[in-house]
Symmetry: C2
Subunit: 345 residues, 2 copies
């Protein structure tokens, strides 16, 4: 089996300003205070099942330097620069056509760069299981996370009850309201969509050709220059002409033969401060702290993430985000975190 991994790392992480900025977004940050960035953790998590020279990072042109810096063991040529953000379908198409040109038998895991997995062993087992499945069939597997709460922040995968670990997907569901999320949780057949896809390269390139032929056409054109000195120029010229569409809309909701593996490996997309708060270790007053010299008095339910500050004293805050990086500071109610984007326009 010729396993490859495609890591999508083009996000700008605007919901985590100023911890995450367009200059250095979330995937390149040590969000959890463990000494590794999210993308470093992602690579580390997958490295036992995929050699580093078969890992591909697709990212914005402006983050190529960060990728080289943080992942020096990934071959430089495996870092694919998007000259413009065109959502996930063109991103995946670029990577998969590129792989196909050299590795026509490739079996591919596509994953975000900035999610958290707690039980890494179980994660690898599930991914390996999916890879075995797609190695033998022209199917698409999307990893489904067994919900542990009626989460309204994730899309859902409706699975069809069946034998074995790999289940057929009935449908994909948009982020639900709370009532619906509760019904999904109770039903048991609904899984969180983690945005982790497994497929062989024939399957995905064929599906893209079928369902978003415009993108397939552009990438085919680009692919004439893959692995040549013309590639950069060709990508710069052609990639931005791709339709801007997510792989979910473009392919997943249309293709037949989509499967899921319901998984329990402690997953979070770490997509909000609230999610980060729930992931991080907390003190007796429910405060989560990443940073140096942070002292809390009479404060509860806060999430503190500081980078450059040497000493932080917080008194009398309940349910706040306090985050600082490179001379920018945000203090904001956790319950108002959806407003963060408007704060730093």
């Amino acid at each position: 089996m010729d396993t490859h991994v495609v890591i999508m790392a083009g996000g700008i992480g605007s919901r985590f300003w100023p911890m995450s900025t367009p200059t250095c977004p979330k995937q390149f940050i040590d969000v959890l205070g463990v000494g590794k960035s999210m993308i470093q953790m992602t690579v580390e998590r997958l490295s036992p099942i995929c050699p580093l020279d078969h890992m591909w990072i697709v990212t914005s042109e402006s983050y190529v330097g960060l990728v080289h810096e943080q992942l020096p063991d990934i071959p430089k040529d495996n870092v694919l620069a998007e000259p413009a953000a065109r959502n996930t379908a063109p991103c995946i198409a670029y990577a998969c056509w590129k792989i196909k040109a050299k590795y026509p038998e490739a079996n591919i895991v596509v994953t975000p760069s900035d999610a958290l997995v707690i039980d890494v062993t179980e994660y690898r087992r599930v991914i390996s299981k999916a890879l075995e499945f797609t190695d033998k069939s022209d199917s698409i597997v999307t990893i489904g996370i067994k919900p542990t709460r009626p989460e309204v922040g994730y899309g859902y995968i409706q699975s069809i009850h069946g034998e074995g670990e790999v289940l057929k997907v009935q449908s994909f569901k948009e982020k639900p309201n709370l009532e619906t999320a509760k019904a999904y949780l109770e039903d048991g057949g609904y899984l969180w969509n983690a945005g982790i896809f497994v497929w062989n390269v024939r399957t995905i390139t064929s599906a893209i050709s079928t369902y978003v032929p415009q993108i397939a056409h552009v990438i085919e054109e680009m692919s004439k220059d893959f692995y040549t000195s013309e590639e950069d120029e060709s990508v710069k010229r052609l990639f931005p002409t791709c339709e801007k569409i997510s792989i979910d809309y473009a392919v997943m909701e249309k293709a037949p033969h989509i499967y899921t593996i319901p998984a329990e490996f402690g997953w979070s997309d770490v997509g909000t401060w609230g999610a980060l708060h729930s992931i991080l270790p907390k003190d007796a007053e429910d405060n989560a702290v990443v940073g140096n010299g942070v002292k809390l008095f009479d404060s509860t339910g806060c999430v503190i993430h500081t980078s450059s500050l040497k000493k932080v004293v917080i008194e009398g805050l309940d349910g706040y985000i306090v985050t600082e990086k490179d001379g920018a500071l945000l203090i904001c109610r956790l319950s108002d975190e959806q407003r963060i984007r408007e704060f730093h326009d």
Copy 2:
């Protein structure tokens, strides 16, 4: 008239951490965001009534460098270094004996270095009036501020109703409770004690000799070496042996012939964050901001004072202090500001 000014600048400003630190306390900081430190404003305020070479700064040894830096036009020899903090009586004694040795006819204003005066013209008029009075009589004049609210944070001067602007002092009162402060305000004969004293050099040295002879004895001994190369060594050895006592306890509460001038020049000792909040200009939501790139959303009654941060976004804070300097950050309820000292031990 040979006017001199003694500026007491030895405080460590611990109530304003981290804006003010023992390394650079409040009097050396641009607390008001006007581009000048409190001590620079104090010197500027007095410079039309006293030549700079007749201004004397008494400060801790460790702040001598800061004084030279911030007040380059004050002669270096006029900066008197206290080798140990002995409260205000020894500090004033040192300065006044030093002045007396060279200027036996000196008429002296003693003032804190870190208070605010709004109406500088009226302030100069009042100080000049006091100087005229002490030039002609062996009296002590202490400036009394007409109270504008029942403030419990200041000591009070009880004046005796009389003719003219200079009134006899009946007694000094400790910081009152709110009820007493209200009674003082209603009475009309009570004034805030601003810690600004005016006297001629004979009067104060004689009063110190009478009421705190131990200090007078030490300073007399020191004075043998004034203006010689032995002065530093002599001060280092002798000054710390002075009794640690305030000029209020040592002299003011004991001496006869103490006078006050009730003044209205918009004065504050800027002794608390609450005081700073009330002094600073405020936005429509009662927020006072000193700092760069500060944006407030849904916040009221806050006082923000940042130094190194380039961008600050605050959402949903009511009645908080947010202050940063040199990599240290404090967030604290204004109502809990008396706890600040315990936060940074």
